[in-house]
C-alpha cells in the first residue's frame, strides 16, 4: 500500500523533473511547443494512472479494529474495597452505639477481588451486647430489627443477607 503510493509520488516528481530538463536542453524552435504538450499529457497520465486499479477493488474496512484494552489497576481497587468496608463497619457501629447498643460487632463481607464494591453479607455479633438507658427496645428481636434498619440505611443490602449471631 505504502510502497505503491510512494512510487506514484516519485513517478510524478520524476516525470516533471525530466520534462524540465528536456525543456532546458532542447534548442528553441517550433518543435518545442509539441514536446511540451506531449510531456504535459504524460504527466496527466502518470497522475491518473493508479485510479483504474482502485475501481473494482473491495476495501475491507471491517479488519480495522481497536485492539487496545486498558487494564485497570486492580490492586488499588481491591485495596479500596477494604477501605470502604472498614469505613462502613465503623459508621454502622457508631450509629448502633448512638441508638443505645454497645459492644455490637459488625463485619461486612464483600467481594474483595471485584473492581466494584459489592456487599455479599453482613454479620452482626450480639454476644457481648450492652443495652444502654437511652435504648428504645430491650427485646432482642426488636433490637435486631432496629440494627437491620440502620444497616440498610448505610448499605442497600437485602434482609436475607444480614446474619445475626446472639
Amino acid at each position: 500500500m505504502f510502497s505503491s503510493v510512494s512510487s506514484w509520488v516519485l513517478s510524478i516528481a520524476g516525470i516533471i523533473a525530466i520534462s524540465v530538463i528536456v525543456e532546458l536542453i532542447l534548442p528553441e524552435g517550433s518543435l518545442n511547443k509539441y514536446i511540451r504538450s506531449i510531456f504535459s499529457f504524460i504527466i496527466v497520465l502518470v497522475i491518473i494512472a493508479p485510479l483504474p486499479s482502485l475501481v473494482g477493488k473491495n476495501f475491507d474496512f471491517s479488519q480495522i479494529s481497536v485492539e487496545e484494552n486498558y487494564t485497570l489497576q486492580e490492586d488499588y481497587l481491591f485495596q479500596l474495597n477494604v477501605y470502604k468496608t472498614e469505613a462502613l463497619q465503623n459508621e454502622i457501629v457508631d450509629d448502633v452505639k448512638n441508638a443505645g447498643y454497645e459492644n455490637v460487632q459488625v463485619s461486612i463481607s464483600c467481594e474483595n477481588y471485584s473492581t466494584t464494591f459489592v456487599i455479599k453479607a453482613v454479620y452482626v455479633e450480639l454476644k457481648n451486647l450492652v443495652i444502654l438507658d437511652k435504648a428504645e427496645h430491650t427485646n432482642i428481636i426488636d433490637i435486631e430489627e432496629e440494627i437491620l434498619l440502620i444497616i440498610q440505611a448505610h448499605t442497600n443490602v437485602d434482609k436475607g443477607k444480614v446474619y445475626f449471631e446472639r
Binding site: 505504502f2 503510493v5 510512494s6 509520488v9 510524478i12 516528481a13 516533471i16 523533473a17 520534462s19 524540465v20 525543456e23 532546458l24 528553441e28 511540451r36 510531456f39 504535459s40 504527466i43 497522475i47 480495522i64 481497536v66 485492539e67 487496545e68 484494552n69 486498558y70 487494564t71 485497570l72 489497576q73 490492586d75 488499588y76 481497587l77 485495596q79 479500596l80 477501605y83 470502604k84 472498614e86 469505613a87 462502613l88 465503623n90 459508621e91 450509629d95 448512638n98 441508638a99 473492581t115 466494584t116 464494591f117 434498619l149 440502620i150 440498610q152 440505611a153 448505610h154 442497600n156
Partner: protein
Amino acid sequence: MKKLLLFLTIAFLLLTPAISFFNVSSQPTISISASSEEEDLADKIDENVEDQLGDLDFSELEDILNNSEGGQDLFGGMSFLEKLASIINGDFAEDSSSVWEALLNLIFDNLLAFLPIIATVIAVSILGGMIQNLKPNLSGKSIGSVIHFITYGVVIILIFTIVMRMVSISANTINSIKTQMDAVFPILLTMLTAVGGTVSVSVYQPAMALLSSLIISIFTMVLMPLFLISTVLSLVSNLSNNVKLDKFIGFLNSLFKWIVGIVFTIFIGFSAIQGITAGSIDGLSIKTAKFAIKSYVPIVGSYISDGFYIVLASSSLIKNAVGAAGLLLLVGTILSPIIELIIFMLALKLMAGIIEPLGDGKIASFVNTLSKNMTLLISMLAAVSFMYVLLTGLVMCSANIL
C-alpha cells in the same frame, strides 16, 4: 458554520478544564478556612488521599516525566506523585509566571535558531534574481533557466533540512502523546471505577482505545504521508513555469483538512454527548444513594463526614488531580514542537514576502506553499492534543462525588 463549531469547541475546552481545576483546587481550601469540625474532615480526607496514593502505581508516568524535558520544566523538578499531592492541596497555579517565562524563552530561542537559515535563503534568492535581471540579453532564455535551477536547488537544500526535522519532530511528538495516553488512561479509568462511575467507564474505555489506537494511526499512517506528498509535489511544481500542480496540491491539502475535521468532529461529538449522559447517570445514582441515607436515618447527620464518603471523595480528588497532572505533562510535551512549527511557518511566510519583490517569483511561491503545508502539521498536532484534553476534561467532570 465551521467558525461557530470552532468557537464552541474552544469555549468548551476552556471551560471544562477550568471548572475541573477549580473543583480540584477549591475543595481543600474551603475546608481549611472553616470551623474545626471541617478542619478535622480535611485532615481525614488528606490522610485517606495519602493512603490511596500509596496504593496506586505511577511508575509508568514517572518514567515518561523523567524522559520529557518540557514536562520536567513545567513540573518544577517535582516527581509525578509530588505534583499530584500539591495539586490536591490546591497549589495548582502557583508558578504561572515561570510558565510564561519558559514560553517566551522558547519563542526567542527558536527565532534565533531560524535566523541564519532565513538570512541565507533570502540572500541566495535575491542574488539569483539579480543575476537573472542583470545578465546580458543575448545569451538567451536557457541560461536564465539554469540560474533559476541552481538557486532553487540551494534554497531547497537549505529549507528541506529544517522541513525534515519538523516532520520527525511532529512524528515523535505524536508518538509520545500516544505513550502518555496509554499511561494516563488506565489510571483515569481505575479512578472512575473507584468513584463508582461504572456507566462512564463503559463509555470512556472504548473512546480512549479508539483515540489512542485508531485515530493516532490514521494521523501517522494517512495524514503524515499526505503531508509529505503535498510537500514533494509543491517542490516539483515550482521547478518550471510550464508544469503547474497547484490545484492538485490544493486537492491534497483539502483532503487532509477534511480528514482531520471529520475525525475530530465525530470523535468529539460522540464522546462528549455519550460522556455527559453517562456522567449524569452516574452522578444521579450516587446522589440518590446519598439522599436515601439522609431521609431514612436522622441520626447520621451530615453525610460527608461519613467514612465511606471520605473514601469516595478522596478517590474523586485523586481522579481530577491525575487528569490535571496528565494535561500538564501533555502541555510540556507539545508546547516546544508546536511553537517551533509555528515560528518556522511564520519564518517561511516572511521569507516569501521578502523574496517576492526582489528575487525569483517561483521561489517565493514555493516558500509560500511550503508555509501553507506547515499549517497542516500544526493542525495535526493540535487536533490530537485537543482530543486528548477534551477526553481528560470529560473524565474529570463526570461522576464527581462532591
